[in-house]
């Protein structure tokens, strides 16, 4: 192992963890599941601050929505009865497609977010649900929308000493449907293209809100915002879905340096998955599945 590690630290409280991270600054990195860090072995990290002993492993239902501790593993999301039904099931679908069983047993939701890579499985599903993240640090707590957390590939809105503590998913209105589709070389492989869709319809069947989030493309996530606007206040029908898919293909600008698929491939696949996801989400919104 070519780590330049000097120490492995195991704080027992959030305050202790943030203090250690603040003290060692850029030389320190928080360690959760470790399934990325122990593969990447960043050479500039001298202090690993193992945060898995902190009380951040929970999934709770509250009046205002669902709170997911950043240290929840993908196995716990996958088997959560609380998330398994209704529109939150998009999170279970995303968790089930994350790596292998042995990876899901240790990899955490917070780690998947903080790694801030385009292929991350969970952020598109969370962003489709308008999730926010709670960040704790030496100067206090703050809550921001997850979509604003990403500042580029491997760049996230975390100041020195801060850690992501909780994901907050708002309560979803009735007649909301969600869908998650992804494609990779094999079922356990890292996804090449990820599509998460959320649709909320009104009683007259028009579309009240739609969110199309694409992963695996240009950055940690990106929105098909132009495509989404095509559906706003419309009754979603097949010809519109086709138009949305064409717009997604035109709108997406995948990185040419991606190792998992060419831009042309990703655009075409995204178009197909968007169509499937919108149809699936719409059926769920209408209570048909």
């Amino acid at each position: 192992m070519s780590f330049g590690l000097k120490a492995y630290l195991r704080p027992t409280s959030i305050n202790e963890a943030t203090s250690l991270l603040a003290k060692y600054g850029k030389k320190a990195m928080p360690l959760a599941g470790g399934t990325d860090i122990l593969v990447d072995k960043p050479s500039d990290v001298e202090f690993l601050v193992d945060i898995t002993g902190l009380p951040l492993n929970y999934i709770k239902k509250r009046k205002e929505g669902v709170k997911i501790g950043a240290l929840s593993t993908f196995s716990s999301v996958e088997t959560s009865d609380l998330l398994g039904n209704g529109s939150y099931s998009i999170l279970v679908d995303a968790a089930r497609k994350m790596g292998s069983t042995a990876i899901r047993n240790v990899a955490t939701v917070g780690g998947n977010i903080c790694n801030a890579v385009p292929s991350a499985q969970f952020p598109p599903a969370l962003i489709a649900l308008d999730a926010k993240v709670k960040i704790v640090g030496p100067t206090g707590d703050r809550i921001i929308p997850l979509e604003g957390f990403f500042k580029g590939i491997r760049k996230r809105d975390l100041e020195t000493g801060e850690i992501l503590a909780e994901i907050q998913v708002p309560r979803l209105p009735p007649s909301t449907g969600t869908a998650f589709f992804s494609i990779g070389r094999s079922c356990v492989d890292i996804s090449t293209v990820i599509v998460a869709v959320r649709v909320t319809t009104r009683k007259n069947s028009t579309c009240q809100k739609v969110k199309i989030v694409i992963g695996g493309g240009i950055g940690p996530t990106c929105f098909a915002s132009k495509a989404g606007k095509l559906l706003q206040d419309e009754i979603i029908q097949d010809h519109l879905i086709e138009k949305v898919a064409r717009t997604v293909v035109a709108e997406l600008k995948p990185r040419s340096t991606s190792i998992r698929g060419s831009p042309v491939f990703k655009k075409e696949v995204a178009g197909v998955l968007v169509k499937r996801a919108i149809r699936h989400a719409l059926m769920k919104a209408r209570g048909a599945c």
């Binding site: 492995y8 122990l38 193992d50 042995a102 047993n105």
Partner: protein
């Protein structure tokens, strides 16, 4: 570099070992404890040859630091059966012809054990999902799945 002494509970035995911060659980199991049943395959969590159980759950020991395993119950292939008294899964793997080169077998059996401990009557799909982190380049998986099914049936009878 800071080296520290930690206690690891491996196969219900407490070991006190000196670890460097970057030592993985796999490194300690094989090189300090001498339990060579756990294999080093890819070192990146792809192949599953290093699978052990941590608090009953299948985990890639190449992706876990030794320090992270402190306070947890580790089970390796040596902890579930012996040559004279094999675990039902080990016996079934032999009988079904689910072992060829044998390199994946310890990890495969531990992943299967984690499944059967919580689900004594798994479907074929559930078995496939439980071993989705364990690569086998010899058997084509068919005999492995048969062996796990046969074990489940046998264990339910008991």
């Amino acid at each position: 570099m800071e080296e520290r002494s930690i206690k690891l509970n491996v196969n219900d035995k407490i070991y006190e070992v000196e670890v460097k911060p970057y030592h993985t659980l796999l490194h300690i199991i094989r090189n300090e404890l001498g339990l060579k049943g756990t294999k080093y395959g890819c070192g990146t969590g792809e192949c599953g040859a290093c699978t052990v159980l941590v608090d009953g759950k299948a985990v890639h020991s190449c992706l876990m630091l030794a320090g992270q395993a402190e306070g947890k119950k580790i089970t390796t292939i040596e902890g579930i059966g012996t040559y004279d008294e094999p675990h039902p899964l080990q016996q079934a793997f032999v009988e079904a012809g689910a072992v060829q080169c044998g390199f994946c077998t310890p990890g495969m059996i531990l992943s299967a054990k984690a499944l059967l401990d919580r689900n004594p009557n798994p479907t074929t799909e559930e078995i496939k999902r439980a071993i989705d982190g364990n690569l086998c380049r010899c058997t084509g998986y068919v005999k492995i799945i048969e062996a796990i099914k046969a074990t489940a049936k046998q264990m339910r009878r008991k």
